[in-house]
Symmetry: C2
Subunit: 520 residues, 2 copies
């Protein structure tokens, strides 16, 4: 009899790797994630495959890079032709349950094309991206019927048609007026929602209720928090838990603004970057951002305690990560998307309860991992087949088990900025506003369509201050990077309608099919 196995795949939204204590932050308190890392493996060099929610998450959910899955930005639906985590799991007899955010956009045209726009079970699953939603909540807009959060808030006394806007992201200003968390100046005030009714608390409650309901039944849960993503406003006491002095120093210098890369320069003209150019903004937002992280950690403590008490720490694979980081003013930038470790590097902690993983408990692994690795790792843990004709990521289980397989020496990330003002500023068409980046131990390289390249020597310049993208003496490095990028493109998996095993069986089998060409 197979032992019961669960998976808990936790995602934070817009959480920088360097904002956890176990990743070296000198002031943030994240004892529960630190404890998870002490029991599992902390991957120190984990990267997303796109620095923005939608495409990054679709890489987690499909095990494929954005150039393959095609959902290259937040507003681009994932094609119904793409197979997601939920579908692989379902084929193996598991349900993939969701509490929180996915950023799945429904491919309405694709469904309509295939006459799948009715109310069928299949259409429902395709619309959710394969998730069984116990509570889907994408945050930062009024939730629809898929989330019980607005009704929950009203039940707890937050009377409003839109309690999220009126309470969760609102605060009381100095003169008693209501102010909005959409304005970053208000990040200093506590949210009008009580902490126990906040988004993070609510979604943790959902996960706890789910685990209680499941009892001894096995499960796979994606617990996906919308925080510490903006609007940056924390409930008391987290709103003033940290001072500006307890934040990392902002990483930027004046030299960066001279001779900047034209797309980076265009990004800096966008409102979020203009705002974050002010120290006041940085010093107002960062403490709230940190408070939201400690709050998240506190609730994870509640969850992990429950799991420990109920034996779930013995049979549950736990993956904790994020969809991307946040500039928070670094490099005179706000938000995300661009190719700096600030945004591209994420926390990535894996706890594998199996005895095979005992050798690596508490270890830090600096091999490079990517978002696309989560799905194959999960399938492998559950003993399900890896769809090697589709999945572009790698199973991390050998690493968790202390093995030393040949491993990648660089990671890849992509950006489609066609929907952004920066694209308009650069006067480009929606089809040529794209970039691909390669990040090796030493180099961060970016290939932009119709724009100069970027190159950073991370050994000499770990903060990425000095762009060597137009330096003549580094042309040979850029050339090597282009070669490596070409190799990566040739490795993408487009032959999705046949498995590798089917190809093996069909190789040189013409005569069996009654075809006898080539005989004299």
């Amino acid at each position: 009899m197979t032992q019961r196995k669960n998976v808990l795949f936790i995602m934070a939204d817009q959480l920088r790797a360097d904002h956890l204590a176990c990743y070296g932050h000198p002031h943030i308190r994240t004892p529960n994630l630190d404890a998870l890392a002490a029991k599992g493996v902390r991957f120190d060099r984990a990267f997303v495959n796109s620095g923005v929610c939608g495409p990054s998450r679709m890489s987690y959910y499909t095990g494929r890079y954005p150039s393959t899955h095609g959902a290259t930005w937040n507003r681009v639906p994932l094609s119904v032709g793409e197979v997601t985590m939920g579908e692989y799991l379902r084929a193996g007899g598991h349900k993939l349950v969701l509490a929180g955010k996915t950023h799945i956009m429904v491919d309405h045209k694709g469904l309509e094309r295939l006459a799948l726009d009715g109310g069928s079970e299949l259409a429902r699953l395709l619309k959710t991206g394969g998730f069984e939603e116990i509570d889907r909540y994408d945050g930062h807009h009024e939730p629809g019927e898929e989330s019980g959060y607005p009704a929950y808030l009203r039940r707890h006394g937050y009377q409003s048609d839109d309690p999220w806007t009126d309470f969760v992201i609102s605060a009381r200003g100095p003169d008693g007026e209501t102010v909005s968390g959409w304005h970053m100046r208000n990040a200093r005030y506590p949210s009008l929602v009580e902490e126990k009714h906040s988004e993070t608390a609510y979604m943790t409650d959902q996960a706890l209720s789910f685990m209680e309901r499941m009892g001894d039944e096995p499960w796979v849960l994606h617990l996906s928090y919308v925080k510490p993503h903006w609007p940056y406003i924390a409930p008391a006491p987290y709103h003033d838990m940290y001072s500006a002095e307890q934040c990392l120093p902002v990483v930027r210098n004046d030299a960066e603004l001279n001779n900047a890369h034209p797309v980076v320069e265009a990004y800096r003209q966008q409102e979020e970057c203009v705002s974050f150019a002010s120290d006041t903004c940085v010093n107002t937002v960062r403490p709230a951002y940190q408070g939201l992280i400690t709050q998240l950690d506190d609730h994870l403590g509640r969850l992990f305690d429950f799991m420990s008490r109920n034996g779930l720490m013995d049979n549950t694979l736990i993956i904790f990560t994020a969809d991307h980081g946040d500039f928070l003013g670094d490099h005179w930038l706000g938000e995300k998307e661009l190719f700096y470790d600030t945004v591209q590097r994420v926390p990535f902690i894996v706890y594998d309860p199996s005895p095979e993983a005992n050798a690596t408990r508490g270890k830090v692994d600096d091999r490079m991992v990517e978002a696309v690795d989560v799905l194959p790792t999960m399938l492998s843990w559950l003993g399900l087949p890896l769809a090697s004709h589709r999945l572009e990521g790698r199973d991390l289980q050998p690493l968790l088990h202390g093995k030393q397989p040949p491993w990648r020496d660089c990671v890849f990330s992509e950006l489609d900025y066609s929907y952004r003002l920066a694209r308009v500023i650069r006067d480009k068409s929606p089809s040529n506003a794209k970039a691909w980046s390669l990040r090796s131990d030493r180099w961060r390289y970016v290939y932009w369509l119709d724009e100069p390249e970027q190159l950073y020597d991370l050994h000499a310049d770990p903060e990425q201050f000095n762009d060597l993208g137009r330096s003549a003496e580094h042309e040979h490095i850029r050339e090597e990077c282009r070669e490596r990028l070409l190799q990566w493109f040739t490795s993408l998996k487009r032959r999705t309608t046949v498995t590798e095993e089917e190809v093996e069986r069909g190789t040189n089998a013409y005569k069996k099919a009654g075809v006898f060409f080539g005989q004299w």
Copy 2:
């Protein structure tokens, strides 16, 4: 009122460009195709996007390269997620009618996944690749119920369960015995089928009947012959219309066999290449191959005559091309697939009856065109929108109308040889048996996964005898080619769920969606 417009898209199977009189063959008689070229434009440098039936045709039918459409070889079904010619035409109010071959493989798993495996109209269309089949006939295997050809043969006295095998590709040997066209030694004998009942005659009859039935109704017809593809056996009088002396000299030399590219060397161990290494095989097959071409031309004459008599030459766009060529012993190779113009270059004649095209009638255009250009050209002629978020080819209408738009300077083709014996000989996995080729005016370059590159200087060596793929002094050329290949990869269209117009409308439109991030 819009004038009625038809499209006749004619494809020959495995027809080399240099095997038509208008393309310079000194002996073959193809007066009807020559006349078509004299009325239209003959593209002298037209190339397929893969040198093998399935992926090449799927590029014609989707307007996308194999790396994008994913049907990389004959046995790889086109994903139901891919939109084909028939679907674009249907959206514009046209039916795409088929007489002949498509090589569409049904994506059974994709249909099953989307619960489209029933008998619905939609499932039927997805199974045919969007074609309305008046008679689908892929040749070289026993046709299924989709073709009326076996019943037709039986009605005309060819009594057999499998009249194709017993008559169409059979012949009478010197001692009166029945011999098979599967054996190339028998290419010298006439087929047991009467010419008027042959595949080429039958399919032409289908097209004629269709045009008669349509009367004054507009139509779009894909007339897709299975010849001169093997089995190489022609009905009388075409079987001995040409002598070996009337064939092009075989293009090969002993030097090619020394230090050959390892994959080309592996191909040469496959049966078709072993057979074609003999002059006897070359001299037996080529005359029959040429006979099949003249036969095809004769039937096209019959079709064009009918069209002229019925006014159809005034309102029908005619495109004549092929899915790839045939080595016929050149370079010690048989069949196709590899990256020589012999196989990659195809005849490509376009007749546009509109007055705008009068300036180019009878002209030879040496701008480079590709298989992916057919679909956008057809849509443009019909006044239908070009799906610029999916189509990777270019509209040829400006060229037909004498314009000089900025144009491509190279073409791309691909190969997945994972099903071939050559892959086994090279001891490779099914995932790393791929190649991409770039062909510019001067260079033919091939990038192979885990194999040396190939490079030919077509100015100095138009026949591709001298592989410079490992020549140190040509490294800078190969590097340029790799750069160009990388650019091409970055241009592929994977963001298929939104149109470029939708991206434009959604650009910088966050606030309209109630999202106000970045404000201080």
